[in-house]
């Protein structure tokens, strides 16, 4: 299904928001003491989260991984609260206890975000099981990387999900690297989508820099899941334009490769398409970008002005 104008706009907005949000984070984390911990950003991969989430309803669950800002913002998380969480402030989505690596936003059904590579995949089988068990009209989407597809958890979870026809979409964001290991240095297969066959599950390769294609594939897989036909594995081919974290200088990523992929950046692509097709004017685009800049500035202000949690907070939320 081709995305409507509204959907295209929604995707463009979340992509721009994610990019702007993360550019800001990258800037801030250079200031000592400002943003603690690692900065794992999805620059270049924004079309995946945006395309997927545009195809979902509020009730649908997503299980993000360590590279989650795009997932969260596309699912509708509040930028200020996500930013505050990255800062470790009490007003953050998780009271500052999580930090950037495992932000969960249950309000928008972004659940169980985990930084254990592959850890979200069996959990997604579990949330989808609950959706089926209680006959909800919703599904689960699990985001993970190409590296995660080598973990045992991937295998066990996909087998189980297929066996029980669980309403879940496994979205592999193949950004060509798992840490410093290039795709062909961590597995012999070219397309991770081919692994779906090992579980009698449909698998599909999608251009992960084409938000519309990601959207369309997700819509199809979601319909399948809701119809009780079980899970789908969607591999989105994309690229990690930055290092793994803020301190990774990409020495192992060929310059030309980075440049070539920057050419394929999903943002100018969608923006260009929309302008070319007359779905949006330059003026509207400027206004949108300005609005997003403001949103992110506001998010940063909110995060900066928020207090750190009181030490007593360390002891809450361990148990109910």
């Amino acid at each position: 299904m081709q995305p409507s104008k509204e959907k295209l706009l929604e995707m463009l907005r979340t992509m721009l928001l994610t990019r702007c949000f993360e550019d800001k984070l990258m800037e801030l984390c250079q200031i000592p003491g400002k943003v603690p911990g690692m900065m794992i950003l999805c620059t270049g991969q924004e079309a995946v989260a945006s395309g997927v989430c545009a195809a979902l309803e509020q009730d649908d669950v997503i299980i993000p991984n360590h590279r989650s800002h795009g997932h969260l913002l596309a699912k509708g998380a509040d930028p200020g609260e996500v930013m505050a969480e990255c800062f470790g402030k009490i007003t953050g989505c998780n009271k500052g206890k999580s930090g950037t690596l495992h932000i969960a936003v249950p309000e928008v059904n972004a659940l169980c975000t985990t930084t254990v590579v592959g850890g979200g995949i069996p959990i997604a089988a579990g949330t989808a099981f609950a959706q089926k068990y209680t006959s909800r009209k919703s599904i689960t989407v699990c985001f993970f990387g190409d590296g995660a597809a080598d973990e045992g958890s991937f295998h066990e979870a996909l087998n189980l999900a297929s066996l029980w026809d669980l309403p879940v979409i496994f979205v592999c964001e193949n950004n060509l690297y798992a840490g410093a290991q290039r795709h062909e240095e961590h597995t012999r297969i070219r397309d991770i989508a081919d692994r779906a066959a090992a579980y009698a599950m449909p698998g599909e390769v999608v251009d992960g820099n084409d938000a519309g294609a990601v959207y369309a594939a997700t819509v199809r897989a979601r319909e399948r899941a809701l119809a009780g036909l079980g899970p789908t594995l969607i591999e989105c081919k994309t690229y990690r334009c930055r290092g793994h974290g803020e301190s990774d200088h990409q020495v192992y990523q060929p310059r030309e490769e980075i440049e070539a992929w920057k050419e394929k950046c999903p943002l100018p692509r969608l923006r260009g398409e929309m302008l070319a097709q007359g779905l949006m004017t330059h003026e509207e685009l400027d206004r949108l970008e300005e609005e997003i800049r403001k949103t992110v500035e506001e998010a940063v202000r909110f995060a900066e002005e928020s207090p750190y949690p009181d030490v007593a907070e360390a002891f809450t939320d361990v148990y109910v």
Partner: protein
């Protein structure tokens, strides 16, 4: 009162909770169709009575089983999943320890994980060290989990019902040997609170602290000790996490002597925690050095005389107690 084995008591608890709450379901390898057509096993008959929607046989995939529990519980279900034997919890331990135990904290208290992981433990079946390896100390070292290890059928039933109703992840460890020993279980509906120890025998000379199958050994030992003029108190912890410090300390303050008895290997075993607490908070009351009676620091051997030697018995206990009287 009805006489049930622990397997039957667990079965009753599962049955009652599944009847009470549709959100409760069970899953695991052979929890429905089983290689044991034995009515004493904990999940016997449940498939027949609750159907395959609520009694889920799984592939041999421990990580997925535990992940199923994590994901379904955050959605409001109350999964009771089974890891067949304690050492296989290793494969599920990322899900249990890094996810079930931590995701609530990581969510800032927004998500809850009301799940139960049941597993069989204990030596004595000639299955060797990859089946018999008590790892309760691992689980009890993980904040965010609760760890329950009942020693009697009645405790098992009441505690499992509490575990299922608890909004936190609970690891529930059943010693297989207890599946085959009957004991009294109340007919009427009841629960037993998690986190409360039980003084199974009142005494004044020494506190024997134990849990699970070893509670029976402790009681046998106390009997022999009584014949030798030593009046032992037997404290059944029942829950390792959260620990009932109150009951523990009250007992040791009274008797002045501490012997901890567990089947797990000694070094790094949970007896250390008991000793530390007492040595921190009741040192003044002590009349004698502590003793730990535990499995030796070896993998559980297969050969019958060696396996018997591995499992602590009442004689080991009596000897240890008499040594500090």
């Amino acid at each position: 009162m009805q006489q049930l084995t622990m397997g039957q008591a667990v079965n009753q608890a599962l049955r009652e909770e599944m009847l009470r709450d549709f959100n409760v379901f069970i899953a695991g390898e052979g929890v429905g169709v089983s290689i044991h057509d034995n009515p004493l096993m904990p999940t016997a008959g449940l498939l027949k009575d609750f159907g395959p929607e609520r009694v889920k046989d799984t592939p041999v995939s421990e990580a997925a089983i535990a992940g199923l529990a994590v994901g379904s519980s955050v959605m409001g279900l109350r999964p009771v999943v089974e890891i067949m034997f304690n050492p296989f919890v290793t494969i599920a331990s990322d899900m249990i320890v890094n996810h079930a135990a931590k995701l609530r904290y990581l969510s800032g208290g927004k998500s809850t994980f009301p799940l139960v992981v049941r597993m069989k433990s204990g030596a004595g079946f000639g299955a060797g060290c990859q089946h018999s390896h008590n790892l309760e100390a691992w689980m009890a070292h993980c904040p965010g989990l609760k760890v329950v290890m009942p020693g009697t059928p009645a405790d098992a039933k009441g505690l499992l019902k509490s575990a299922i109703r608890d909004d936190n992840p609970v690891v529930f460890i059943e010693d297989m040997m207890l599946y085959f020993i009957p004991g009294p279980v109340p007919e009427e509906e009841y629960t037993i609170p998690i986190g409360k120890a039980d003084v199974k025998r009142v005494g004044s000379d020494v506190s024997i602290v134990s849990w699970s199958k070893m509670v029976g050994v402790a009681l046998k030992g106390a009997q022999i000790l009584a014949e030798n003029g030593v009046d032992a108190e037997v404290v059944d912890l029942r829950t390792l996490l959260p620990l009932d410090r109150e009951t523990l300390l009250t007992s040791v303050r009274k008797t002045g002597r501490l012997v901890v008895l567990h089947e797990a290997t000694r070094t790094g075993g949970f007896a250390g925690e008991i000793c530390a607490i007492v040595a921190e908070d009741a040192l003044n009351s002590l009349k004698a050095p502590f003793r730990r009676v535990t499995g030796p620091d070896i993998p559980v051997p297969f050969s019958p005389p060696l396996e018997r030697f591995y499992i602590p018995d009442e004689n080991n206990l009596v000897e240890a107690v008499l040594g500090i009287m």
